[in-house]
């Protein structure tokens, strides 16, 4: 569904990503793991049109995304859940979710999607009139994912799912993400926490200083001595 080939990208004259190939299939959960500064966030920002690619191609459902504006990418069905949640702290939970549906014009469709998102995250329905900035860290991450889902995406990209969250809060999110995936949404998950990311994903890629150095099934990656030594400290 998402096919990235030979992608080169960066900021100004600094090249961050070198010749990256990556694919996400329909209804698949793919993990992209790697250390701080490996270029994971840059990859997501390039897909969502915030950073322009220098070379290579990004194709989503047979459409070339290179050079599209973020609004167009969202409208095509890719939602980006940014690192650090980035909620609109002065708006309520409900308003944040409605902002996620900004590119959708059909009101009935938006209302239906809101109901669906409430069903994934019932706690957000209870907190819908609270300011998003007053939620706990775990609830903010839920709200950020829920805001992304409001765009009715085919592909949900989550940047640093577990960063700054208590283990318990992460445990609570995982079943919901599986449920969302079972309902047909592909997920591209970025995390420094390799264990969590690969446990959730079907397949994974390892990004090191801008290059993909390993790829394969989650179990195989978790079992590889290289990954265990570098990322799990075993």
């Amino acid at each position: 569904m998402l096919r990235i080939e030979g992608l080169v990208a960066g900021y100004g004259r600094t090249v961050v990503l070198r010749d990256v190939d990556l694919q996400v299939g329909a209804a698949e959960i793919v993990a992209l793991v790697g250390m701080n500064g490996a270029g994971k966030s840059t990859l997501l920002k390039t897909v969502s049109g915030i950073v322009r690619p220098m070379a290579g191609s990004i194709v989503f459902m047979e459409r070339l995304l290179n050079g599209l504006a973020p609004a167009q990418v969202v409208a095509l069905g890719i939602a980006h859940v940014p690192e650090g949640r980035r909620l609109f702290g002065g708006l309520t939970v409900r308003e944040n979710l409605l902002m996620g549906a900004y590119t959708r014009v059909d009101r009935g469709e938006v209302r239906a999607q809101l109901e669906r998102v409430w069903s994934y995250f019932p706690i957000l329905r209870e907190r819908q009139r609270q300011l998003a900035g007053k939620l706990s860290g775990g609830e903010q991450q839920m709200c950020s994912i829920a805001r992304g889902l409001m765009a009715k995406p085919r592909l949900l990209m989550i940047d640093e799912l577990s960063l700054g969250l208590a283990p318990l809060a992460i445990e609570r999110l995982l079943p919901t993400l599986r449920e969302i995936n079972r309902d047909g949404v592909s997920i591209l998950l970025l995390d420094q926490d390799v264990q969590t990311a690969l446990e959730l994903a079907h397949r994974g890629y390892v990004l090191e200083t801008g290059r993909i150095t390993m790829e394969g099934g989650s179990a195989a990656l978790l079992g590889s001595s290289d990954v265990r030594a570098k990322y799990l400290g075993i």
Binding site: A69, A71, H80, R86, G89, G90, M99, G100, Y102
Partner: protein, 334 residues
């Protein structure tokens, strides 16, 4: 329940204030003398400029260069009316267009800057435009331009410009209402809250910022054009007066940035204060303006709304805090 009742009560209050305001402004031609009419016209002019500033202000971008667009409008009207015999309304429309065009041209690179970098850049634009216009031969250089005075009774002239400014305010109010109350209003708030996140949910942030900057500039251009014809003389000092940037900014801050009625309330309060009290202080009133700005930003960042909704306990707390911090002050007033 409470929220709904509160909303209705608030709606009634706004409607009442609006009604009183409409009656006062609508009947002013019947009862106001020239002095009052002139004061009202000034308030209306600033109300329009405050609304203009408020459009981009709602996105959290602070412009310190609005007078550039005011001055462009003023000079466009002055030059077109004196040299090309263009009618005032047409000249003002062209002035608005040129001001908006300049805003879009400089805004395209400048609106990539964030926070105070953008504010400083706008300050630079205003200075540059003043210097350029002040050195153009056909703009009268430092001598300025005298505009044709309307051939009418003095009272009729006052009434004419009162109506002109009233129409500009109504136009600005309608535009602000259409922008702030709908989907667009949420887009502006989202940009203010977190611009990157706004982009990620699919808001075309560049387009919104540019169009708000341009719309504000257009209103400034019309206001400046009306001001030039009203004063019937402009020079670089009066057309590019920094107070024309500062006052609307302060009015919008005072009334509440991003709100529909805030800039209007702020304009009324500040201009009446300026007229009644500070005019006695001549240059000193700028000090008072500056102090007010600091106080509003520090204690009431939301403007008048914060003051009105402030629980009494907090107000007392703030006063006590001030007294404790500046204990010396207690001695001189007790």
């Amino acid at each position: 329940m409470g929220g709904l009742a509160g909303g209705v009560r608030r709606g009634v209050t706004v409607a009442l204030v609006g009604l009183v305001g409409a009656v006062v402004l609508g009947s002013a031609l019947l009862w106001a003398n020239n002095y009052v009419l002139r004061l009202l016209t000034t308030i209306l002019m600033y109300a329009a400029l405050a609304q203009a500033w408020n459009l981009l202000g709602a996105t959290g971008y602070v412009s310190f260069g609005n007078v550039a667009f005011f001055g462009i409008g003023a000079y466009t009207v002055a030059i077109l009316m004196t040299r090309f015999d263009v009618a005032f309304v047409a000249a003002a429309a062209i002035g608005a267009f040129l001001a908006a065009a300049l805003a879009v041209a400089v805004g395209f690179p400048m609106l990539r800057l964030k926070g105070h970098y953008f504010a400083i850049a706008t300050l630079g634009v205003a200075e540059a435009v003043r210097e350029i216009v002040g050195n153009l031969e056909f703009a009268g250089k430092g001598k300025g331009i005298s505009l044709p005075v309307m051939d009418a009774e003095i009272t009729e002239i006052y009434q004419y410009f009162y109506i002109v400014m009233l129409l500009i305010v109504l136009g600005a109010l309608l535009a602000s209402h259409l922008i702030l109350s709908g989907r667009a209003g949420y887009a502006l708030v989202a940009i203010r809250e977190d611009e990157d996140a706004a982009q990620m949910v699919g808001i075309n942030t560049t387009a919104w910022k540019l169009s708000m900057f341009g719309a504000g500039a257009a209103i400034n251009g019309v206001g400046g054009g009306a001001y030039a014809y009203w004063m019937s003389y402009i020079d670089p000092v009066s057309a590019f007066n920094f107070l024309v940037t500062l006052m609307p900014l302060l009015m919008a801050l005072l009334g509440g940035v991003g709100t529909l009625w805030g800039p209007l309330a702020g304009a009324l309060i500040l201009e009446v204060l300026a007229e009644t009290a500070w005019s006695h202080f001549l240059e000193f009133h700028r000090t008072v303006l500056g102090a007010m700005m600091v106080l509003v930003v520090l204690f009431f960042p939301g403007g008048l709304r914060d003051v009105i909704h402030l629980p009494q306990a907090r107000l007392v707390g703030i006063l006590r805090d001030l007294l404790r911090r500046y204990g010396g002050a207690r001695r001189w007033w007790c």
